[in-house]
Amino acid sequence: MFKDIEHLVRLALVMAIGVVAFVLVRAAVIPRSFGQYGHYRGAALAEISSRPIAFAGHQVCESCHTEVVEQKKLGKHIVVPCEACHGALAGHAEDPASVTPPKLDTAVVCARCHEANSAKPRTFPQVVTVDHSGGIACDTCHQPHRPAIETSAKSVAEGKK
């Protein structure tokens, strides 16, 4: 009955090799963490979260620059985080000695928020810079950390950095 089964054995062998090859290739190709949390590579989470940061966060700034915080507390800009104006400074926070934050041009920086625009909330302080100052640097009159202009000589002396 099983006299001429050699061709079947060969076929079975070929199929077995195929299955083994499939399993081996699959094991080699699919990363170990695939399926750890779902239908994706679990290690991707750690890879994405290992990216370096660019913005240090205002808490880090405030831990050293306490005198600026004291100034800001006296005015409306206490709600404005440091890096909103000063830019990304994680490098400076990491190594304050060698990374120096760039000086800001207040004529540009202040206008980003305070240039008048009818889409801004009505209560937000806005000016048309051309009429208000003619384009001179805002810190000629305002101290950015404590922007309200105070008239008494004492507060002006305090307000200047």
């Binding site: 994706y40 979260s49 290992s50 940061i53 985080p81 990304a88």
Partner: protein, 243 residues
């Protein structure tokens, strides 16, 4: 030994496999961060937004977003009082450098910051054929760029237009909710620099997060609720004309 064509054909695939393992390495994972203890979202307070574009600039800097592409952007809406169905929306360079003065200051004018809604039932992850985009256990929609084929299905599927194909890597890219920051206990770059607090990161699983009190006491909406995406970016004070 002279390398023949035959040798090269044998050598190349094995070298490719070996190189893959060299590249993989062991990434530094965030210590003390438990993915199951968080469920991230964001709160956007439209009446507070001044359209300064700080969030757009910060996002681009924090995440190396190529010029002309945006993971977050700001739109300016102009709605004549009766034309709520036909708002005029503009977003010059994503609002990155702010907005020019409004020509027409009649009607209603306001800013709407947009970003990935990190949907609980996201349409974009469902269409990915290779498992390259996914919702993390803490509710953030991410892209595994080593797995992405660049087929663009997800870009078509996102109802909010929040994805794009990175022109250099040719892989899908989107807001990660600054996953590299929030897993270290920081807030996102856009929320960090927002001068008016119009954007706030929210951890919906943290009972102490002020989001819960806010959601209880305000009329809050999500974008395109009829699409049942389970969007987790909540908009306060949003006008009916916002799409």
């Amino acid at each position: 030994m002279e390398i023949t064509r035959r040798h090269l054909m044998l050598l190349l695939p094995s070298a490719a496999v070996a190189w893959k393992y060299v590249l993989a390495g062991t990434p530094e994972s965030a210590p003390n961060y438990e993915t199951t203890e968080h469920w991230w979202g964001m709160l956007i307070d439209i009446p507070k937004c001044i359209g300064c574009g700080s969030c757009v600039r910060a996002c681009a800097q924090e995440n190396d977003v190529p010029d002309g592409y945006f993971r977050t952007w700001v739109e300016r809406y102009h709605v004549a009082d009766w034309a709520i169905e036909r708002p005029q929306v503009e977003s010059p360079d994503g609002g990155k450098e702010g907005f020019p003065p409004n020509q027409d200051s009649s009607g209603k004018n306001f800013f709407v910051p947009k970003l990935c809604n990190h949907c609980a039932d996201s349409p974009c992850t469902q269409v990915c054929p290779v498992g390259a985009t996914f919702r993390s256990p803490d509710g953030v929609i991410l892209v595994d760029k080593t797995y992405c084929l660049g087929c663009r299905y997800c870009i078509q599927a996102c109802p909010y237009g929040c994805r794009f194909l990175n022109p250099t890597s040719n892989t899908a890219e989107k807001c990660t909710l600054c996953y590299h920051r929030i897993t270290k206990g920081l807030t996102t770059a856009c929320c960090e620099v927002c001068p008016t607090g119009a954007r706030q990161l929210a951890d919906l699983k943290n009972p102490k997060d002020p989001i819960h009190e806010f959601l209880r006491t305000h009329s809050v909406q999500v974008l395109k609720p009829h699409m049942a995406t389970g969007a987790k970016v909540f908009y306060n004070g949003m006008d009916g004309s916002v799409r």
